[in-house]
Symmetry: C2
Subunit: 456 residues, 2 copies
C-alpha cells in the first residue's frame, strides 16, 4: 500500500481525530483556559506516538509546554524540524459564530472550529504524513523532529529560551512550518518572508475616579479625548504611519521583486467585495499586496474607555485604553520601533492626563533566499499534490519564532502552508478546506520523499 | 412640638426609611432592572401617603411611572410643585465600589449608596419636610403637589407628554427641585441655570467581520483608526469644540455675570488636587467655573471596539463605537446641535468605512431670573437652616425636565439642592452628607413657611 492509498483508507479516522484536537479550547491568551491548553499538549503527544514517532516528550517551560518527538533512523539523510502550535486565538465576539467554536462542524467541504486552519489542522496533517509513510514503508525518507508549542498566539515567550537551552535536541538542517496561506484555492505558495511584530498597550489616566460629565465636562481633560488625539496623531492623511523614524530602517524592495508581486495579479475590487468594505485603503503609492506583505503598519487592535452598555451614561471616565500591534519588515527592529512609539506618545501626550506604555510581544521580520533547495523541494511537492506550479510569496502575518528558529538553528525555514485567506483565522467562524487537508497531507509526504536526496 | 423637634425625634426612623429607599436598584437605563424601578415607584407612593399627602397615585406612562400626590388645603395660598426622581444611574465599574452600591452604609457622617445624593436622598427630604409640618401643625403653609419620576437618568422621555396631557393636575405657581449641589460644605446655593443636553452614538463599520491584522493590516481601513480620527477632529488644540457652527447660538454672558462667577472664588489648584488630575484643562480664555457652567461642551462618554481582554489579539475589528453627549447653554438648540454634529461626521468620515449616527436624548438649557421672589425665598430658607447667606449659581449638569416644566407650567423653577460636588454622582461610591440631610429638611420646612405670604 502506498501513502496515497493509506490516506484514502484512513480519511474518516483522520477527520475524527482532527475533531478531537479541535475540541480543546486551548486559548493561550486567557488564563481561565490553562487546564485546556495543557490537556491539548497531552493530546498532541499521544497523536505523535500513534503516528510512530519516538522519544515523545512534553517539555515544560515557565508557560505552556512544548511537545517534542522524533524519528532518527535515516543515517546520512537530512534532519528536518517541523514546527507548529496547538494553542489558538480567543473566540470573541462569540455571538458572531454560527456554531460553537469548540464544537467542530463539517459542512460543504470545510471543517469549522477555532484552530481549524490556524494551526491545529495543519499540525495534524504533518502527523498524518509521518503515520502514512511509516505504516506503509516502515521508515521515513529523512530524519524528523517535532516541535509543537502552546504559546504562538501570545508571541512564543518561552520557546526561544527552551531552544537555546536544548539546542542539540532541536538541531536540524531545515525547518518546515505549515501555518501560512496559499494564494487561493488550488494556488499553492511557498512563503519566503514574514512581517515582524511589536505590540504595546497605552493606558491614559485622568481623574482619580469617573466624573459626571455634566458637572465636570469642559473643565478637565477627558481621557478618551486624550487617547483619540494621541492615536489619531499616529497616522498621516496619506495612510502612512506618522511615528517619527518609523520607516528609517525599512530595507528597500527591488523593482524586480515588486514586479514579481504585481504578476501574482491580486484583484483589488474582488478583495474589497470579499471583505465587505466600501473601498480598500492604505499607504499611498503601494498596491494591496505590497501594503500587506512588504510595508510596515501600526494597527489599533482594541480601544476601550467609559460606558459601553445600553443607553447613555453621562460620565468622564477615569481611564481609557488602547492595544496596538505594529507589523514590521526587514530591517526594522521591534525594540527600536517600541522605543519610537513610546517617544511619540511622550511627545504627543495631551495636557491634563498621564499616559503609560506597556510593552508586549515582539518578533523580528524574516526573509529567506527563495532559491534555496529546500524551498524548491517544497514547491515541487506542492506541484505533485496539486497538479499546478506553486508561487513564491511573502506574508503580512508574523510568526515571530521563524526568525528565532533561523537564528538559533542556522537553518532555512520553509513556510509551506495550506490555509486560505478567507478562512477567518483570529475571527469568528474559522474554518479549513478539506480539499487542502487531503492534498496537503499528500504534499507533505512528497516533500519528505523529495528531501531524501538532499545533502545539506 | 415644632418641626425641628419633630425632625430630631424621628432621625433614626428617617435614616432607616432612606436606607430602604436606597436598596432598590432602580437603574432606568438597564432593562434588566425593570421590576426594581417599578417597585421603587411603589415605595415612593407609600412614603408620600405616610407623610400625610393625599390623592397618591402611580401614573402610568409608556415607560416608568410618575408618582403623584398632593395636599391642597391652603386656600388663597400659592401652589408649589415638587419635582424629583427615584431612578438612578448604572453602577459600573462595579469593582471600584468599596461597598455594594445597593447596600447602604452610614460612615463618618455620610450615607454611601447609588442614588444617595442623586436624587433619592433629596426626594426623601421633601417627604420628611411635609411629614414634619403636617404632624406638628396639622397643615402646610402652601398647597403642594408631588411629581417624582423614574426616567430622569435616561432623559425623561415620557414626562413631558404626561404633563402636557394632565396639565390641570400638575398646574402650579412655582416648581421646587432638589437635584443640584451646594458650592461646598455649609455653602448653600440656589441654582438659576442648567446646561442642556444632546446625546448621540457613532457607529463605524468596516469589513464584514473581524480580520487578522497581520494578513490585512495596512490594506483596509481599521474602523478604530477611522473613529479616533473622526473624534479627534471634534476638538481644536485650544480646547474648543471644532464642530462647524457649534457656538453660533451661544448667548453672550454679561461681564457682570462673569464677575459674579469669579467672586464665588473657585480654587482651581484645590479642584485639580481633589479630582486627582495633573492639571485642569479646557477651553482657552475661561475659568473652570465658566467652562463647566456657562460654556458648551462635547464629551465622549464611552468608546469601544476590537479586543479588550487580557493579553493581545491581532485583529482589525469589523466595527468601532462611541457615545457622545454635548452640554449646551442658552440659546443653543439640542436638535440643531445634533444636526451640526451629524453634518460634521458626514464631512469628516475617513475613506474605507461607513459611519452612522444614532440620536439619543436631548434637553434644552435653562436660566431663570435670579431676582424672582421664589428664588429669594429659597435663599432665605437656606440661610435660616445653615446660618450663612446662600449664593446664586448655575450648574454644568442637565435636568432636561426643568426647561419643560418652565415651558408647560409657565412657572419659575427653583433649584434648591443639598448635594456636594465630591459626592460621586454617576460614579462609584456615591454618597450624601448627613449634615446636609439634617439641615436640608429644616431648610425645606423654612421654605414652605416662607412662601406662605407670597401671592403669585
Amino acid at each position: 500500500m502506498d501513502f496515497d492509498s493509506f490516506l484514502n483508507a484512513h480519511r474518516a479516522d483522520h477527520l475524527e481525530r482532527l475533531q478531537q484536537f479541535l475540541r480543546y479550547p486551548s486559548i493561550s491568551a486567557l488564563s481561565e483556559h490553562k487546564a485546556d491548553v495543557r490537556a491539548c499538549a497531552e493530546f498532541v503527544a499521544r497523536e505523535a506516538a500513534r503516528a510512530g514517532l519516538e522519544h515523545v516528550q512534553i517539555l515544560e517551560t515557565d508557560g505552556y509546554p512544548v511537545v517534542y518527538a522524533d524519528w532518527l533512523h535515516a543515517p546520512g539523510k537530512a534532519t528536518v524540524l517541523v514546527y507548529g502550535h496547538y494553542d489558538v486565538q480567543p473566540v470573541d465576539p462569540l455571538d458572531q459564530w454560527h456554531t460553537p467554536p469548540f464544537d467542530p462542524l463539517i459542512r460543504d467541504g470545510r471543517i469549522y472550529a477555532r484552530g481549524a486552519s490556524d494551526d491545529k489542522g495543519q499540525v495534524f496533517m504533518h502527523l498524518a504524513s509521518f503515520e502514512a509513510l511509516l505504516k506503509t514503508s516502515g521508515s521515513l525518507p529523512v530524519n524528523v523532529k517535532l516541535c509543537i508549542e502552546g504559546e504562538e498566539e501570545i508571541g512564543s515567550p518561552h520557546l526561544a529560551g527552551l531552544l537555546a537551552q536544548q539546542l542539540d535536541r532541536f538541531r536540524a538542517d531545515a525547518v518546515v512550518i505549515s501555518d501560512t496561506t496559499m494564494l487561493g484555492p488550488n494556488r499553492p505558495a511557498v512563503c519566503y518572508g514574514l512581517r515582524g511584530l511589536a505590540g504595546l498597550q497605552i493606558d491614559v489616566r485622568g481623574p482619580a475616579h469617573d466624573l459626571h460629565s455634566g458637572l465636570y465636562g469642559g473643565g478637565v481633560q477627558n481621557p478618551i479625548h486624550a487617547l483619540v488625539e494621541l492615536l489619531a496623531s499616529m497616522h498621516r492623511p496619506d495612510g502612512r504611519v506618522a511615528i517619527e523614524g518609523f520607516y528609517d530602517d525599512v530595507a528597500p524592495v527591488s523593482d524586480e521583486e515588486r514586479r514579481a508581486l504585481a504578476e501574482l495579479g491580486a484583484d483589488e475590487a474582488a478583495i474589497a467585495a470579499d471583505l465587505g468594505v466600501p473601498a480598500l485603503y492604505g499607504e499611498a503609492g503601494y498596491s494591496f499586496t505590497e501594503r500587506t506583505w512588504i510595508r510596515p503598519t501600526l494597527e489599533v487592535n482594541g480601544i476601550y474607555g467609559g460606558f459601553q452598555g445600553e443607553g447613555t451614561k453621562t460620565v468622564i471616565p477615569a481611564t481609557a485604553h488602547a492595544k496596538i500591534t505594529c507589523r514590521l519588515v526587514p530591517n526594522q527592529d521591534p525594540l527600536r520601533i517600541l522605543d519610537l512609539v513610546e517617544q511619540h506618545v511622550q511627545r504627543h501626550t495631551p495636557p491634563g492626563v498621564t499616559v503609560s506604555v506597556t510593552r508586549r510581544e515582539t518578533g523580528k521580520p524574516y526573509v529567506t533566499p527563495f532559491d534555496h533547495p529546500v524551498i524548491r523541494a517544497a514547491a515541487q511537492a506542492y506541484e505533485r499534490a496539486y497538479g499546478t506550479a506553486a508561487s513564491f510569496t511573502r506574508m503580512g502575518g508574523s510568526i515571530p519564532i521563524v526568525e528565532t528558529l533561523d537564528r538559533l538553528l542556522q537553518a532555512p525555514v520553509v513556510m509551506m502552508g495550506f490555509g486560505l485567506n478567507d478562512e477567518n483565522f483570529h475571527a469568528p467562524n474559522e474554518h479549513f478546506s478539506l480539499e487542502n487537508f487531503d492534498k496537503g497531507m499528500r504534499a507533505l509526504c512528497h516533500l519528505w520523499k523529495g528531501l531524501a536526496d538532499w545533502r545539506p
